[in-house]
Amino acid sequence: MSKTSDLINTSLREDKDIMELHLGPQHPSTHGVLCIKLKLDGELVLDAEPVIGYLHTGIEKECETRTYHQVFTLVDRLDYLSGPAEEQGWAAAVEKLMDIKIPERAEVIRLIMLELARLGSHLLWLGTSALELNMSSIYMYCFAEREKILDIFEGVSGARMFPTYWRIGGLSRDLNDEFIPQTKDFLKNFPSIWKDLNNLLTHNYVWCERLKGIGVIDEKMCYEYMCTGPILRGAGVPYDIRKAYPYLGYENYSFNVPTHPDGDAYARYLVRLEEMNESVSLIYQALDKLKPGPVIVNDRKVTMPPRAELAVSMEAVIHQFKFVSEGISPIPGEVYIPVESARGELGYYVVSNGSNKPHRVRVRSPSFASVQVLKECMRGLLLSDVVVAIASVDPILGDVDR
């Protein structure tokens, strides 16, 4: 480390031919519209400054003009690889404000969907990271598997990436008939694919040489820069929201929190790889717990009446009209709900003023913190390793810019 900082200092002092290079925002290996202003001496990175804001959509502002149940479609689009996690955050925040206990079946289905989304997100991350190191076959393996997860989502909710399956108080509908066989089929095949990926990468000379020692983020840096998720666990801290602040009954499942002490890109790769295994075991456990029952609370002030009731009950029609035109009004107050998304702590800070629209919706996005820390961990790398460092923190720019 001291050697590289010496090199940087010499380069800066001697005022050599320092080149400023804008990597991105339209660059395929920056995982979205992220721009990084690099100061280079030859191939050596002297300074790096991430520039964000190219995908700012103003969703937080937009949420303030929508009723509580309209927000689901908006928050889905933030972290577009794990939409269910965003929906869970929003739903849990409103449910806490309104003191709603969701049915057990809804909890289990939510958990399965969350873990499937985590698998899908990690698979996409692994595929694209490998593609950046010119290993295109791994990309294909990962995407073939992710496609199956998206098919499951499509069957359940009708949409592949943005399910909008959550509702305040439960879920929009029950599972489709193919869900359980489809999921079991996926889970049966997945371990062999996982093994293939593990065999192809973990001891692969090129992969190890490119990843080891790159983008080191240690525990202290994680705390200073609020990094969570695989970055913090890759630095050896077993911090997982599912264990620390359990939601959806995660405390009743047995799973490990994989950690690795090194804090480099390789450690984060190992953590994510292990997490996929844990997700598979969680889904198996959840499928065992799946019992028949309602998937949404039976409270007409919170949820829509079932379609069949509308034909026979005047009250149901009134409730539906009130629900659609006015929505629900939680008590005034503020709550913060953390959820473990695929990238770390995803927090929903919701301020209600007692009306039918939220006063403020704040999304504490994990990617925002992990992009900020890039500035610190990229100094002294070579230009070709910059791509690896960006990929290893797994930023989703929709989530960074919100």
Binding site: H56, G58, Y223, E224, G347, Y349, Q372, D401
Partner: protein
């Protein structure tokens, strides 16, 4: 447990003017001069060494008690996290809209971008911040979008050096305030 002790000590020290308990979440309300002292105190003595979140909430004239805040206020929210026992505490302060606060970048380097975001979207100035510029909006943007009186507008995509006057939305119902921002 830690949260209760920390709350008690911070109140005894005189940094906190009000403690709000709502749905098992503790919020310490500080006056703007004291908030940095309170954060430093909690970080040094109670192990709240992670600033999990830094954000703000805007309140217009009649959103808050008009006797205390006749002109409204911007509530700046700090969420502290203790990694050893997972306790959390929220520290808030009511600053004037467009007012000034001391930056906490020297306590948490990672607060840098969060403060830039609050400056960008709410117009709160953080003193002693190393680089207080816009972060999400374009550099030449006018106004601070997350303020409650900032209209949603109907113009299409904004490009640099091409900022046109904004037209309040006809479709989206919102605060239609004709003042210039």
């Amino acid at each position: 447990m830690n949260t209760q002790n920390a709350t008690k000590e911070a109140v005894d020290k005189g940094y906190v003017s009000e403690v709000v308990e709502f749905l098992d979440e503790t919020t310490l309300v500080c006056i703007t001069e004291n908030v940095k002292h309170a954060l430093e105190f909690l970080k040094k003595n109670f192990g709240f060494k992670v600033l999990m979140d830094l954000t703000a909430v805007d309140y217009l004239k009649n959103d808050l008690d008009p006797k205390v805040f006749p002109e409204g206020a911007t509530k700046v929210v700090y969420l502290l996290h203790n990694p050893s026992d997972m306790s959390r505490i929220r520290v808030v302060t009511y600053a004037d809209r467009g007012g000034k606060l001391f930056s906490v970048v020297d306590l948490w380097p990672g607060a840098n971008w969060y403060e830039r975001e609050v400056y960008d979207l709410y117009g709160i100035h953080f003193q002693n911040h190393p680089n207080l510029t816009r972060i999400l909006m374009p550099d030449d943007w006018q106004g601070h979008p997350l303020r409650r009186d900032y209209c949603l507008t109907e113009e299409s995509v904004e490009f640099k050096n091409g900022v046109f006057p904004k037209v309040p939305s006809e479709i989206i119902p919102y605060v239609k305030d004709k003042r210039s921002y």
